[in-house]
Amino acid sequence: MAEVFKKEGYVDPRPPVLGPGHNFRSISEKIGDIVLMRGFQKGWVFGFAIVFLGALMLFNTIGYLVLKGVGIWGNSIPVAWAFDIINFVWWIGIGHAGTLISAILLLLRQSWRNSINRFAEAMTLFAVACAGLFPALHTGRPWVDYWLFPYPNTMGMWPNFRSPLMWDVFAVSTYATVSLLFWFMGLIPDFAGLRDSAKNKVQRSIYGLLAMGWRGDARHWQRYETAYLLLAGLSTPLVLSVHTIVSYDFSVGIIPGWHATIFPPYFVAGAIYAGFAMVLTLAIPVRKFYHLEDFITIRHIRNMCKVMLATGLIVGYGYLMELFMSWYSANTYEMFMMKNRIFGPYGYMYWLLILCNVLVPQLLWIKKFRDKLGVVFLVSMFINVGMWLERFVIIVMSLNRDFLPASWRMYKPTVFDFTMFFGTIGFFLTCMFLFIRFVPMIPIFEMKTLLPESKVDEHKVEEHISGTSVGANPLPQFGD
């Protein structure tokens, strides 16, 4: 029936998701060789050295923090939550894009995800690690952080499960665990591939160990694919739940500016927004440096821009709703909060936020800009900054002028707030550098499924069968 309606001469206007001229082997080699090559590239060593300095700065700050206490930060009543929680939310949000790219796009059968999902998942893991540091340290006595978990103890007490902070403990730890499982599971077949093309014994044994004896058995593949798809199905609501619970940290309380029912979807959209911006910020340079234009094509960039635009508009919608409802509520505190947010002492932050998160990204409506890497990179930098500012606006500006004017106080971050924040960026990038060097950053086996020759052609199968089944006569050889 279908061929009756087939349109002749129609060419799919979308650019391909995989550059031309590749075959099974070339994909394995092109991606695998980045990992298996001897020595280090100069550019890699140089970049690693710089970001590792950042990581060291983080470690030093943590050391000092553990010695002296959280007083080295600028947090003080009424602003008891400041950089630590801003950074926590910022990092968690960045992590979300990774899961979304790998899980939701897998469920939606968007094959363009195949080249960026591994990279995005790694980003998730490292971002969650950075995020987790902040609340863990903010407890003040990080060595007893295990009290957060419900375990039978001599004090006979249990955590308060009615508190969103407790939900956060469960959400973030579940998220970290499931992301790790998902990432590692995706890597198993690729580790097997690296094991089989390893250039020396050390590589062979390390990747062999990680591959756990994977041999590409057809039955294994079936269970693997099902489990992977189910993990994706589980990760999708999980990732939404994590940022939702992060938003509950604020919205379940009654501080004006925090207590808003729109927070869950608006935080989730913001997380995806920030996350995609971070993926682009990282992917554009990496693509250039490692010549991965065949795998991360302009189609990927375009699609990510569209996702950013869409989520950015939801975030803008959130701002609009907050603005409208604070007036519509006719509630003194709500109205004051909004006035303070826009015209108060930190008002410039709000306007900067609107510039970064709402105005600049509108450039992405224009097709031409979505294809210009420079513009895209710049816009994503604006969004990275904007989403950080958003958390500042929400957290600090709702606290610094609370219900009681006598306790109003301006918040001023100390140098350690900044070394901690930039330190986590250094730590994150250090992890990314190690990942790029030692783990295949593009899923090799999934890229192979994008090749036309990877598909089983039923006509050819029939041909093979009819050519060989009689069996008695000498037969022509197939496949050479």
Partner: protein, 402 residues
Amino acid sequence: MNTNYAAPSDLGRIQGVALGIGLLGIVAWVIGLTLSGNVREIFFHSYLVAFVFWAGIALGCLGMLMIQYLGGATWGLIIRRPLESGSHTLILMAILFIPVAVGLGNIYEWMHRESITDEKLRAMLDHKSLWLNPKFFIVRTAIYFAVWLLLMLVLRKRSHKLDETGDPALIQSAQDWSGPGFLLYAIACTFAAIDWVMSLDAEWFSTIFGMLLIVGQGVAAIAFIISVCVILSRREPMNHVLKPKHFHDLGKLLLALVMVWAYFSFSQLLIMWSGNLPEEIPWYIERFKGTWGYLGIALILGHFFLPFVLLLSRDLKRNGRRLVFVAWLVIIMRFIDLLWLIVPEFEHGHPGHLKDYLIYIASTVGMGGLWLGWFFWQLRSKALVPYNDPLLPEALAAGGGH
């Protein structure tokens, strides 16, 4: 014109049946009203529920139509014509808004600002009167309908022209309209939700409310489209087009939307329940009482739990005839949800018995006859599939196989 996809002849019979049932609904409505003793009040109350319900399905169709253009999933074009017909009923809904405008005084509490003695409440309403006043209310609704009708007509024109010319640039144009169009649509829907439903309780406010109703519309629209597709899939020519894979995709979409609805509803509840603020929680307290409490539980089970568990099954999703039962359940639950949102505001804390709400069923069925008549009239007037869309072969192939 390609006649391969002309609507089946007995669609007219289905249209007639729908109109007939609608007529019965209207008769029951009239009888109910005369028995109620308070004709004017009850009429407008039950009218509003019916109006919001059917406007919701129409708007859901318009939203889904734009998402279908934006999403890039080729199978979406199979349901493009039903979505277009559903959106076209917005013309009917615009006309049907007139009685709401007439009955504002019987529906909305804020219309009687002057007679309120409580000083605090009065001050609050005075503050809000800039927004909540009859003139501006009607102007705003006119603007919402202008936005929706413009989008509907623009997309419809392109789609019909595509049938004639087959020019792929038309699809591009429809996509270009759908991006900003959806933004305008969402904003208009949000404020319509605030005006029509949220302002029934003039004090209460919730920033997620617009999104909650938008998702509700999406749920209703997809459930409705599934029902239409099942009807079509039993007849020529769509029995060659609609395949298990398409129902599978529709089922997945319904599952996702039901989950999002539950997520938004639960979030709103959790935030307000935990905050326990005097300006917010009374809204829920009213809805936990008596009949509303039971209907609330019915919503948790029927609007989320049951469809969620059933739609997890792959076999059910692929079988249109079984999927349609879930779709009907969800449509009924949409009605109960709107009842739960709207009607407690008319009772001022004294929930009635289940039989008091039969009148709302009558009004909704009555208006439904008109709505469905309009819908099937539209559906019959054009080919059931945009047969000149260059992606059609891909969309057809996507349904085939195993």
